[in-house]
Amino acid sequence: MSAEPLLSVRSLSVDFSTYGRVSHVLRDVSLDVPARRHVALVGESGCGKSVTMKAIMGILAQPPARIVGGEIRFDGRDLLQVRGGEWDAWRGTAMSMVFQDPMTSLNPVFTIGDQMETILKYADRRLGRRRDRRGRLDRVYEVLAQVRMPDPERIAKSYPIMLSGGMRQRVLIAMALLTEPRLLIADEPGTALDVTTQAQILKLLRDLVEERGLALLMITHNLGLVREAADFVYVMYAGAVVERGPAVEIFARPSHPYTRALFDCVPKLSGETTFKGIDGSLPDYGAPPPGCRFAPRCPLAVAMCNRSPDERPVGPNHSAACWRLEEAVA
C-alpha cells in the first residue's frame, strides 16, 4: 500500500484523571484502516478497545480523558488538530458508528422512520443541505433496502419493539449508513444476537465493505467473528497493541504470548480445549508495568521485559511486540 490509508492512528496515548489519580490507559496505539478493508480490533474487557474507538469518533469525554500524544489521521488530516465545529461535520458523515446493543440503542417511543429521518435532518443542517421530509424519507427507504430489509416502508413505520433482534441490528447499520460515511466503526456487531442471525449480519457487513467500498473497523472480543469476517487484525492488551497482521496469518501463527494464551482459552468445536485460563489480572493503569504490560502474567517473562518491546516481524505484514518471540512460537 503506497497511498495513506483512510484512517491511520499513530502512537495514540490517552490518560485518564480520576480523583487526582492519573491512569495511563492507551499507550502508543497505532492502527490503519484502508478503504475496502475490514479491520478488527480484538481484546478482552478493559483492554482499551472502546477508548480507542471513542478517540477516533471524537466522543471521548475530556476530561476525565486527555489525549497526551499521537495523531488520528483521516483522509490525510489529523483530526486531533481539527476544532469542535469542524469535527462535528466529520463525525456522522465521514465516519459513523454501529452501536452494540440492538435492544437498547433505539428509542422505543419513536418509529424507525422517525428516528432515521431525524438523523438526516441534523446531518443536512450541519452540511447546509436542503431536503424536505419526503426527500429524507426516500433516503431512509433506500438505506433500509441496502441492509436487505424487506418492505422498507413498512419497517420505517414500525416501532423497535415490533422488530426482532436481527432486524434491529440491521436498522442500526442502516442508521450508520444514512449519511454515506466512508468509515464505519462497529462496536461488537452481532454479539447480542443468536449465532444463526449473527452469521447473516456478518455477511451483510462484508457485502457493504465490498459493494460500497467502505472501510470497516470492528471492535470485538469474539475471536470467532474476527476469523470469519476480518481481513486484518490488531490484538490489544492493557492499552497497547501487542500483535497485528492479516487475519489468515494471525490465526495460523498467533505469536505474542498473550495472543497465544487468549487463543488457548477459546473453547474449540473439536472438543480439545484445556481450560487453563490466564493467571493474574490486568495491570493497574495507574502504575502500569514499565515495559511490556503483559510481563507480570507472562510465563516467558525475563528481566529484559521491563523495557518496552519493539515490534518484531513474524511473517508477511505480521508483527508482535515481544522480546521473547522465538521462545513464544517454539
Binding site: E44, G166, V195, Q198, L223, P267, G277
Partner: protein, 338 residues
C-alpha cells in the same frame, strides 16, 4: 447405567398473555412442550438453543422457580411436585447467568454464602467454618468473606455465586449460561473450576448455553432445543460429529470458530434465512419448517416423532424417518454411522 438422578418427563410450560384494562387472557405462549430427558449421577447434560428456545424456562422448572404446566420432574425417583419431592429440592441448586445481578449488593460475600446455611438453622460457628471452607473450595481468598460484590471482578463474583449454590450441599447444579457475561480467559478459569468441583464433589450438572463450542468441551450429552421442543438428543460425539436434524446442522455450521481444523469439521449447510419465530405464534407441524431448507408438505402439518439414530441419539425430523428417501442422494443428512 445406574438409576437416573433426574428424569424429566413430557415437561411443558405455557404462559398466559394478558392484556387490556382487566388483564384478561388474550392468548398463550407455549414456551416449552413435551420435553423429556434423563441424567445419571455424575453426568453433565447440556441444553443448547437460541433465544426463545425455552432453555431457561426448563432450568427454572427444574429448580422449582417456575411451576410446570404439564409433565413431571423426578429427582431420585420422586416427583418434585409431591411433598416428598419438595423436601429434596434443596439438593438442586442453580448458578445464574449474570453474577453482577444475582448477588445482593448490600450483603458481603460471606453473608450471601451463609443464607442457605442460615435457612438450615445451623449454629454461628458452624456457619463460619462452612463459609471459610466454601470460599476455599471455589479458590477465593478467605478475606473475601467481608468484601462486597462491587469490590470483586466478574470472575470472582461468579465464584462467589458458585460457593453460595454449593452451600446447600446440592447433588445437582443447574448452570444457566454461567460464563456468558465473562471474558474468555476468565471463562476458562470458571469452567476449569466447575470441572474440578464436579469431579471432587460428585456433582451432576445441567448446563445451559448458546455457546456450542463451550458445550462440546464441558458436557457428555447434549439436547438441542428449538422453540421449546427438544429436536435432537445425543452424546457430544454424535451431536457434533454426526448431527442429523437440519436445525442442529445449521446451528453448528454457524458457530464462529478460530481454526481451519474446526472449520473443516462443521457441517456444510447454508446460512439460515430469517430468525427464530416468536413462541407466541408457533408454526404448525415442525416449528422449524419455516426456515428449513429441506422442508416439504408434511413438515407444515405434523410434528415429527423421535427417530432413534443410534443408542442414545434421537432426532425429530420427518426426513430421518425410516423409509424416507428424500435426502438420501443429497449429502445433507448422513445415515447414522456413515
Amino acid at each position: 447405567m445406574s438409576e437416573p438422578l433426574l428424569e424429566v418427563i413430557g415437561l411443558g410450560k405455557t404462559f398466559a398473555v394478558r392484556g387490556g384494562l382487566l388483564g384478561t387472557v388474550r392468548g398463550e405462549v407455549k414456551a416449552v412442550g413435551d420435553v423429556s430427558f434423563s441424567l445419571s449421577k455424575g453426568e453433565a447434560f447440556g441444553l443448547a438453543g437460541e433465544s426463545g428456545s425455552g432453555k431457561s424456562t426448563i432450568a427454572r422448572m427444574i429448580v422449582g422457580l417456575t411451576a410446570p404446566s404439564a409433565g413431571a420432574i423426578l429427582f431420585e425417583g420422586s416427583d418434585l411436585a409431591s411433598p416428598q419431592g419438595v423436601a429434596s429440592r434443596r439438593a438442586i441448586q442453580m448458578v445464574f447467568q449474570n453474577p453482577g445481578s444475582s448477588l445482593n449488593p448490600r450483603r458481603s460475600i460471606g453473608q450471601s454464602i451463609a443464607v442457605p446455611l442460615e435457612a438450615r438453622k445451623l449454629g454461628r460457628a458452624h456457619i463460619e467454618r462452612r463459609v471459610a471452607r466454601l470460599l476455599d473450595l471455589v479458590q477465593l481468598p478467605a478475606d473475601f468473606r467481608v468484601r462486597y460484590p462491587y469490590e470483586l471482578s466478574g470472575g470472582q463474583k461468579q465464584r462467589a455465586a458458585i460457593a453460595r449454590a454449593l452451600a446447600a450441599e446440592p447433588k445437582l447444579l443447574v448452570l444457566d449460561e454461567p460464563t456468558s457475561a465473562l471474558d474468555v480467559s476468565v471463562q476458562a478459569k470458571i469452567i476449569e473450576l466447575l470441572i474440578e468441583l464436579g469431579r471432587s464433589l460428585g456433582l451432576t450438572y445441567v448446563f445451559i448455553s448458546h455457546d456450542l463450542s463451550l458445550m462440546r468441551n464441558f458436557v457428555s450429552r447434549v439436547g438441542v432445543l428449538y422453540l421449546g421442543r427438544l429436536i435432537e438428543v445425543g452424546s457430544v460425539a454424535r451431536i457434533f460429529d454426526a448431527p442429523a436434524h437440519p436445525y442442529t446442522r445449521s446451528l453448528i455450521a454457524s458457530v464462529p470458530v478460530i481454526s481451519d481444523a474446526e472449520q473443516a469439521m462443521k457441517p456444510k449447510e447454508p446460512i439460515l434465512e430469517g430468525e427464530v419465530p416468536s413462541p407466541a405464534n408457533l408454526p404448525k407441524g415442525c416449528a422449524f419448517h419455516t426456515r428449513c431448507p429441506y422442508a416439504f408438505a408434511l413438515c407444515a402439518e405434523i410434528f415429527p416423532d423421535a427417530v432413534a439414530l443410534d443408542v442414545d441419539h434421537f432426532a425429530r425430523c420427518h426426513l430421518l424417518a425410516p423409509g424416507e428417501s428424500r435426502l438420501r442422494d443429497t449429502a445433507a443428512v448422513r445415515a447414522p454411522g456413515a
